[in-house]
Amino acid sequence: MELLIKNGAVYDPKNGIKGDKTDISIKDGKIVDKVSSKASVIDAGGRLVMPGGVDAHSHIAGAKVNVGRIMRPEDTRSGLKPRTKITRPYTGYTVPNVYAMGYRYAQMGYTTVFEAAQAIMKARHTHEELEEIPIIDKGALTLFGSNWPTMDFVREKNMDKLAAYVAWGLLASRGFGVKVVNPGGGEMWGFGKNVTGLDDVVPNFDVTPRDIIVSLMKVNEMLGLPHSVHLHCNNTGKPGDYKTTLASMELAKQVRPSKDRQVLHVTHLTFNAMGGTNWGDFESKADEIANFLNNSENVTTDMGQLIFGSATTMTADGPLQYANAKLTHGKWGNGDVELEDASGVVPMYYARQVSVFSIMWAIGLELALLTKDPYKVLLTTDHPNGGPFVNYPEVIALLMSNKKRQEEIKTLHEAVHKRTKIPGIERELDFNDIAIMTRAGSAKVLGLLDTKGHLGAGADADIAIYDIQPDQIDPSVEHAKVKSAFSSAAYTIKGGEIVVKDGQIVATPMGRTFWVDASVPDQHTDIMMKDIRLKFKNYYSINLANYMVQDAYVTHPNVVKAGVISVEVS
């Protein structure tokens, strides 16, 4: 099947195209140099064309997402759309059903989304949901930061065993990368406690968060995994946490990347750039984080932008979620997983007139606007922690228009003036910056820039066409038009197939699931498995034979190969 997109104003940062009228040729799901005269033609008519959106951090599937749904029937009853001949019903706003998840991302022109956390023991559930999310390509990052084998091998300083465990854990969970959440804290939450910084020792395991992060970064590079370590810092969500964030980012200097990408991705910075000592003197420290990023080459981040209104916070950071539940006096979901990690789910309402929330709203934007290189700050809302992903167009409009920001600021708590820098920031991002933060940058951070996030020959034919003409619009003034265009793609093309036309779903093919098959020397696996077998014999509540995710749960796999390479440690 061939398709030709003509007359598009193309933004393709990887290939240096910034709004030029460029034709895009598609054959058999891939972008090619040219197609035959038989190709069907879409005349973009000068409208904005970008690679399909790529989201490197979103909570779209698995145990905690479903806990959110079960806890929140009041959320499910919003966003309802009845079934049609093509689509199943849509439900929910912060915790949509699997169908709305795929349809809404596609309607925004997104074609690839990564679930940001799964425990190995519950990975089968993640994949059951991923299998039901239509259209988009997806994958899931696997939690390693509080796993008993991780801590044992870190304590033993045995990087070969740790690498073998990570490789095996990725296979067991059909995972795409290494997620670390509040390292060590997940284990301590097993007894209702937590670590308070990088150098606390985890009782019984005799390791520190610092050891865990550095060791996992080392083995991540030893294995040459496509993505880097993906870190949710210790102390997240507490006033003053920016210090821990900076100290954690510093650790990245100890390891050299095995690939053209960062060695550490520090996620959802809205929750990690907090100054002050309590909620009373709470302030933004996004400028300090941006300053670090501007002077460092091996760390990337994402915004985790706060969206006013309803959110559902969900994270493997169990103690953070208990603290949140105590603040809201509301519902609390907790889901500790034996030998692996914790998790929590707490509904949240971000009201404009609350000082803390006004400041948090500013943090994400400040970070994106004060960091010079858009490849270092991806656009996310940490769905649905900062707010639901359907608000990405709102974030785009805020980044592109100071006027819109100033209009918003007028509706917020006055603290936004005193305790953030946002009112004085005039920078406005352009379509190229946005294409980086939502496409090329996310694909690069994930290590998928060969086939995702760009429109050069060989890339997956994942394309979005938006109903605005970049040369005829001033986003600074016409921000409402920008938001509306990004909310509802004129076309979304997924793997060469038109899936959205004029904002409506017209086809629902199944996307693929990306996972990483990393090889290590057999003898390393054999030694590592001796420990693992003991863990199952004595501590796990299921048998090893029933642990690993079977092929039946990944029916459209895209396996990325990786494996042990030598790593330079400075």
Binding site: M71, R72, P73, E74, D75, G330
Partner: protein, 252 residues
């Protein structure tokens, strides 16, 4: 003034979902207009005209529109949902969710109303001359607020969970109420003339007055002594102490 009279054409067994029966939807419309308004019976889309005879006198905006419902509406749900003004008289029994989310106007049910009458009500008046079912003036599953404003009066009895998650407004039950009235109450006022049991659990704010007998008291209230309310002496309790609640419970 506009008056619209509806009568079922035949016995209704499968539940009808009739949020479209309300002064807001009928105001200024002719018989033909109203007959063609969509309504659901089970999984079938049908019209008001298919199920009910419609008589219209006059034409007026919602606030001056009166609906008279005659016959058996005991399998017709969600009548007057979201109603903002006007009058509605249901002569007989009515099914669940009558007056849910209403914000203005007045509904009178001369018979019994099934569960969730006045669910998430914001304003207006709902009078049930017979009995009410469960969850009178309560919320929807998972919501933190049920009734926020307006007034509900039940001449007969109400079943369990009266005013659950109530955040404002007033409920008066002339008869008895089932267990756990005012549960997780966060405002508003509930008066029960008859008997009830376990009132005010997890109450954060609001007032509950029980003039009959409290069968079982929740062990979460602090007795503050006696106090007169409009000349009547009550034992006054505050609580729920577990959540440092500022709710007030008066028991005669």
């Amino acid at each position: 003034m506009q008056t619209v009279t509806l009568k079922p054409k035949k016995e209704i067994k499968i539940s009808v979902e009739a949020e479209n029966i309300s002064p807001d939807k009928f105001a200024g419309k002719t018989e033909k207009d109203i007959q063609s308004i969509e309504i659901w019976m089970g999984n079938r889309r049908t019209t008001i005209g298919e199920l009910f005879s419609v008589k219209v006198e006059g034409s007026a905006p919602a606030a001056d529109t009166k609906l008279v419902l005659e016959g058996d509406f005991s399998r017709v749900k969600r009548i007057g949902e979201g109603m903002s003004g006007g009058l509605m008289i249901i002569k007989g029994n009515v099914d669940m969710h009558v007056g849910a989310k209403m914000s203005g106007g007045k509904i009178t049910v001369t018979g019994n109303a099934d569960s969730w009458a006045g669910r998430e009500m914001k304003g207006g008046e709902l009078i049930i001359e017979g009995n009410a079912g469960y969850y009178l003036g309560a919320g929807y599953r998972g919501e933190t607020c049920g009734m926020r404003g307006g007034k509900i009066m039940v001449m007969g009895n109400a079943l369990d969970f009266v005013g659950e998650h109530m955040c404002g407004g007033e409920i008066l039950v002339k008869g008895n109420a089932g267990i756990l009235p005012g549960l997780s109450n966060n405002g508003g006022k509930i008066v029960i003339e008859g008997n009830t049991s376990r009132p005010g659990s997890e109450m954060a704010k609001g007032t509950i007055i029980v003039n009959g007998t409290v069968d079982e008291m929740m062990p979460v209230f602090k007795l503050e002594g006696t106090e007169a309310v409009e000349g009547v002496a009550y034992r006054k309790y505050t609580g729920d102490v577990i959540i440092s609640g500022k709710g007030v419970l008066y028991v005669k």
